[in-house]
Amino acid sequence: MLNILVSIKQVPDTTNIRINPETGTLIREGVPSIINPYDVVALSLACYLKNQFGGSITVITMGPPQARLALKEAMEFGADRIILLTDRKFAGADTLATSYTLAETIKYLERENPFHLYLFGKQAIDGDTAQVGPGVAARLKVPVITYVTKIENIDLKEKIIILHRKTEKGVEIIKAKLPVLITCEKDLAKSPFVPLSEILKAVKSEPEIFAADGPVKFEREKLGLKGSPTQVKKVFTPELKKDTLIYDLSTTSIDEVVMKIIHILEEKKII
């Protein structure tokens, strides 16, 4: 029996999102929120593993009240318990405060029945930091394996997992002792064909609500804006700098141009 925890985030559907040309802000009106696509992979993996090994799935998220919809949708993947961390005091959290809040919640949840696997998406599409999963792992003091692309085997008796992880150079095949926290790449698991039974369960479900003052005991100053040293000053798309020199062959001779190019390349120590 596998006891699985999945942590998800509700994000705006960026495939539909537009920037208001007038104000430069995101137009969120009418843009439906979705579960972060990499978290959907985590849920899919959880669903697949539960069906293979038996066990249970607990899903948590921190967010505004409407994030309950993301959790309800998570029920479709066969979740057994869904928990929403929502409170004004959680708001404005950066990755440090978020990983603290999630980690404390997870510790609380596994008091009696520890999790074997903690599944996170590799990153959230609205922030792209990829820090929350590893941050939680550090606080839980469990190994973290990021960018996992494949689960090769799980041996529940020996408590061993063998998996593939993507790196810049290639694939690492890792054997680890459970429990581990993994962050999911997009090819790790296909979305399941959700049966009607789960759709109906999802519709009828409501998440348990956890607030700042209970049931988990938090240190106040580590929550939300207070616990977040990161301050966002400005959000912008970096400009691609291209220093382009254009020589006009109708006014400059080809020999001259070639000499100039060689000169520049030498100057930059390229040749």
């Binding site: 439906p32 959700v194 009607l196 039974s197 759709i199």
Partner: protein, 438 residues
């Protein structure tokens, strides 16, 4: 193994299905509504204008609701006749600004479904009904495109005492239930294409002469459809415009024009070109409008089954009615279902009272009144080709009459009419149009 059983299963979460579901849920009937979209309205589009009176039938507090599902009140509505040279506008300012509102389906239907959920309706999204279950000549449930469970991959069955088909214009299940023979023909539907446009900030109010409490709904006739039988529409939403064109599918096919070409041509008309200058296209979509009318009306009920809204073809294009008729028919089906549940009889005999309710309503009387309209429009192309141009010319003469003997102007107008259509032709058209309704 999971097995499902409900008193009523509704197929489709448009206004018809949701109205029906709200009424049943309010009475505590064990009802499941199945919608294939991610949420109600997510896959749908319409013009569109909705009418307060019909919405109040299911949401009595409307329009005083916390999260408004509508865009702008319609305070000005009318027609714009397009000639090659220019336009003639014919507008009416409404005295009651709460009577009608522009709306977008993704918000409107989502609102109704939230409302229905609060009333206790169970809605299964992302699920498509692929077939109906027939047992002993009685519809006794539906089959969906989802497996029964993670382990049992056979398509799930949902049993029901009554199935209500609110599947919209593409009424495949209504066909499967034997309530209508074969698919609709191209001349029985209008293909509508629509864009949601965003003008630069502040331009919408400026160009249409509105403030934020005012809105406009215009029907566009003439050159706008390249003279093909059909009309265009232009409605103001809160921050966007709904612009589109609807053309009878058969004439569209024969014209060899692609739908987007017609839309592009329309937007190139000088009047619209200026009005829509700088607009950004936020959405683009197409949808059919059922116009089979009384001739193509399916049987509205069978053993264990009823059909409502667009699936039955309940629209009145001339008066922009569709959403409201969907709502009314959904309510009538719900009333009938309640009756049947009380009796414990779901056969045709009991469900026939849905048809009786329908026949007493103005929907049926209107369908009767307009039963020859479609044929008339298809056979009298001059309505779309000649008249808009004629109207423009007449007004041109009238408004440039200064400095002329006015009798001469009148003569010129008459000459123009003679040239364009002939007095005989005009008279014939008037009589024919009149005969439609008498």
């Amino acid at each position: 193994m999971e097995s499902y059983s409900f008193d009523v299963v509704i197929v489709g979460g448009g206004p018809a299905g949701l109205a029906c579901g709200i009424k049943l849920a309010e009475k505590g009937v064990n009802t499941l509504l199945i919608e294939r979209g991610r949420f109600c309205g997510s896959k749908n589009l319409f013009g569109g204008v909705v009418y307060t009176s019909s919405i109040k039938e299911i949401v009595p507090e409307f329009p005083e609701v916390s999260q408004s599902p509508v865009e702008r009140p319609v305070t000005e509505e009318g027609y714009i006749f397009f000639s090659t040279k220019g336009v003639v506008k014919f507008f009416h300012t409404k005295s009651d600004s709460q009577e009608a509102f522009t709306a977008l389906r993704a918000r409107f239907d989502a609102f109704l479904s939230e409302y229905a959920l609060k009333k206790g309706l169970l809605i299964a999204p992302k699920t498509k009904v692929v077939d109906i279950i027939l047992e002993n000549f009685k519809v006794s449930g539906v089959i969906v495109d989802r497996p029964r469970s993670f382990k049992d991959l056979r398509p799930a069955e949902v049993k029901a005492k009554i199935v209500i088909l609110a599947e919209g214009v593409n009424r495949l299940l209504t066909e499967k239930a034997g309530l209508v023979k074969g698919p609709f023909k191209p001349e029985e539907v209008v293909l509508a294409i629509k864009e949601v446009l965003q003008l630069p900030k502040g331009e919408l109010e400026k160009r249409f002469g509105l403030n934020e409490k005012k809105g406009l709904a215009a029907e566009l006739i003439g050159e706008i459809t390249s003279g093909l039988p059909g009309t265009g529409f232009l409605y103001t939403n809160t921050n966007t415009l709904s612009f589109g064109i609807g053309i009878f599918l058969n004439t569209l096919v024969n014209s060899n024009l692609k739908p987007y070409e017609i839309l592009e041509r329309a937007k190139a008309h000088p009047y619209l070109h200026e009005l829509l200058d700088g607009a950004e296209i936020l959405e683009y979509g197409a949808h059919l409008i059922p116009e089979w009318g009384l001739q193509g009306l399916p049987k509205l009920y069978g053993n264990g089954v009823m059909v409502v809204g667009d699936a039955a073809g309940l629209v009145n294009p001339l008066f922009r009615e569709g959403t409201n008729l969907a709502i009314y028919s959904g309510i009538m089906a719900a009333e009938t279902a309640l009756e049947a549940l009380e009796k414990g009889d779901f056969s045709e005999k009991t469900l026939k009272s849905y048809e009786e309710r329908f026949k007493e309503s103005y929907i049926y009387k209107d369908l009767l009144l307009f039963k020859n309209l479609k044929k008339f429009l298809l056979n009298n192309r001059q309505i779309f080709e000649t008249y808009p141009n004629l109207i423009y010319e007449i007004f041109s003469l009238y408004f440039s009459a200064q400095g002329q003997y006015k009798k001469e102007v009148v003569r010129e107008i008459i000459r123009t009419i003679k040239r364009k259509r002939g007095l005989f032709g005009v008279l014939k058209d008037i009589i024919n149009l009149g005969r439609l309704f008498w």
